[in-house]
Symmetry: C2
Subunit: 350 residues, 2 copies
């Protein structure tokens, strides 16, 4: 065989690099990991040897001795739903939101060389497995997208004292880190905008009221309207689904046909609401102004494009990753929360 044919046989190890550089394994290791001072000359010699051999550290070996894996998991927890015939992961994975989170997390992870493993926790057992996984050192920590208010995972993680960061405030108070958006502030942006537009009969379509996001968006909006002197705002539960919002909008039109402004607690729901408005011959924004929440891709693809409260998903996800890495690095068990400011993105619907 020519020299080109066998290099794939055995990958270069620290030992090989050491031999080429004429130093010991330990020194090469020190150079690679930038630990302690190594004579600058030797330093260069070693790096040259690394380049020459094409050496890349073996993750498994390193992990074995350090007890760190260099990987974190993105856990999508949807415990407690799942009809038996539900296609594996249901609607969530086909929600653009998921991808945006992944993108944000990866943007932080990539430079630091940490791997991102994707994990689905579909039921309580799976949640327990997630906890044991991280305790057993399969991953160093977890970033969690928890989809249901009664999801047991956050509590399990908090109890286990495992490095974890949630997207969104947990439904019940518990010692666990999270990132969130200032929902009240966002709802206020929407309220102020509708009032400034001159809307006289404002209503809202809320998300599920058993979820923090649902409650906060509703209460925040009501509070802001109250500040504007509007004592009562009719609200209808859209359950965070397009169909739910369509039904809610139908009811709203029936019971309050005079409505001229609606704050809808998510863009997807707003899309449904606008379809119903159109079906009823109402024009948006002239007859009824509509404001969504999230600034998801649905906001742009809807007709008319949606004025919405922007939730900086990518930034928030990136912050989750940063918080987690810090927590893992420090080994200290401190919980932190970071709250992001929302913006009002003004498009055509209001």
């Amino acid at each position: 065989m020519t020299s080109d044919q066998t290099p794939a046989q055995r990958l270069p190890t620290l030992e090989d690099v050491a031999q080429v550089a004429g130093v010991s394994r330990a020194t090469v290791s020190r150079v690679i990991n930038n630990i302690r001072n190594v004579d600058p000359q030797l330093h260069k010699v070693v790096w040259d040897a690394v380049t020459a051999t094409g050496y890349v550290p073996n993750r498994a070996a390193r992990s074995l001795v350090t007890g760190r894996t260099g990987a974190i998991a993105l856990v999508v927890s949807e415990a407690e739903n799942r009809a038996a015939d539900d296609p594996f992961l249901g609607r969530f994975f086909s929600d653009p939101f998921f991808g945006r989170v992944v993108g944000g997390v990866l943007s932080v992870l990539r430079p630091s060389g940490v791997h991102l493993a994707l994990v689905l926790a579909g039921d309580e057992d799976a949640c327990a497995k997630v906890v044991s996984d991280v305790r057993q050192g399969q991953v160093d920590g977890v970033v969690v997208l928890s989809l249901h208010p009664h999801d047991p995972l956050p509590q399990l993680l908090a109890d286990a004292g495992v490095p974890a960061v949630l997207y969104g405030r947990p439904a019940a108070p518990m010692p666990i880190s999270y990132v969130d958006v200032a929902t009240y502030q966002g709802a206020k942006l929407a309220a102020d905008h509708l009032v400034a537009r001159g809307c006289q009969h404002v209503a809202t379509i809320s998300g599920s009221v058993d979820m923090p996001a649902g409650v906060d968006r509703l209460n925040g909006f009501r509070e802001a309207m109250a500040k504007q002197g509007v004592a009562y705002v009719p609200s209808y539960d859209g359950g965070f689904t397009q169909e739910g919002a369509e039904r809610a909008m139908e009811r709203l039109l029936t019971e309050h046909p005079e409505v001229d402004g609606v704050f809808v607690a998510s863009d997807v729901m707003a899309q449904g609401a606008m379809m119903v408005l159109r079906d009823h011959g109402k024009s948006v924004p002239d007859d009824v102004a509509v404001i969504g929440f999230d600034d998801s891709s649905a906001a742009l693809s809807s007709r008319p494009p949606l004025t919405t409260v922007r939730q900086p998903v990518e930034d928030m996800a990136a912050e989750m990753a940063r918080l987690l890495l810090t927590r893992i690095d420090s080994r200290a068990n401190r919980t932190t929360s970071v709250i992001f400011d929302p913006d009002l993105v003004q498009r055509a619907s209001a």
Copy 2:
């Protein structure tokens, strides 16, 4: 210390289990891995010890000696785009398609205990890194979503002889495994349906013609229409984006106002096309019948709901994972392709 106080200190190892079971490490390992015959009685004793100690194999240690990581990567390759100010991963991650693939892949991986790592290959360097990653044993193989026709990654993978499976036929022929949908057949379903509906003036909005999916959907549709005796089908390039499709539809209406049936090469594009049709006062499906392609979530959320050629994304993704696992297991370097049959999902738009 009591026996209860330190268990978290050190995780149980094979050695511990062996001690509890009163056998050697080797035997426990044999039981765990189901390798060779172990006396059924001992077998049980060992399992009891595993349960009692709460033992979970250490991935790193195992990986170190076997040379397998028990992880595969899902690579999203978007080499050669990326404006400098492009938010990390651009639009793709917010496309529901991504999540559906993840779901399909995970459904296969989970039972087999293989981890899924997410990797982004944004440029040629990143592609090279992917190849070296798998050669260096960071992961055992890769599943690839390649977004651009001139993406170098598939060729790199093929050259390196690395275990890999693509979603969709590569733009240029090369020895690499892939799964795909029978596009011609799908286009034929659409053509036959439009003709059966009685459409007299059929046109099509195609995807990018430099992508296999774009070309095949266009040619397949033309061929099928030809079989139906329609020699010429006007076509407009929508570039697989909603905006592109909107422009294409505008042109189509200008140049062929008599059109009464359109095959649009993706649901997202179809959504845009329908909006333009509505803006022009055309009703769907009465004035113009519209058929999409993919059966993505856009098909359901559009008004009216879209009749579309269903691409079984989850199934295809699952098959990718299966092919990859088989390939990794066998260590044989055989390439395979699996082609899925599309269905016509009939909704309201045609």
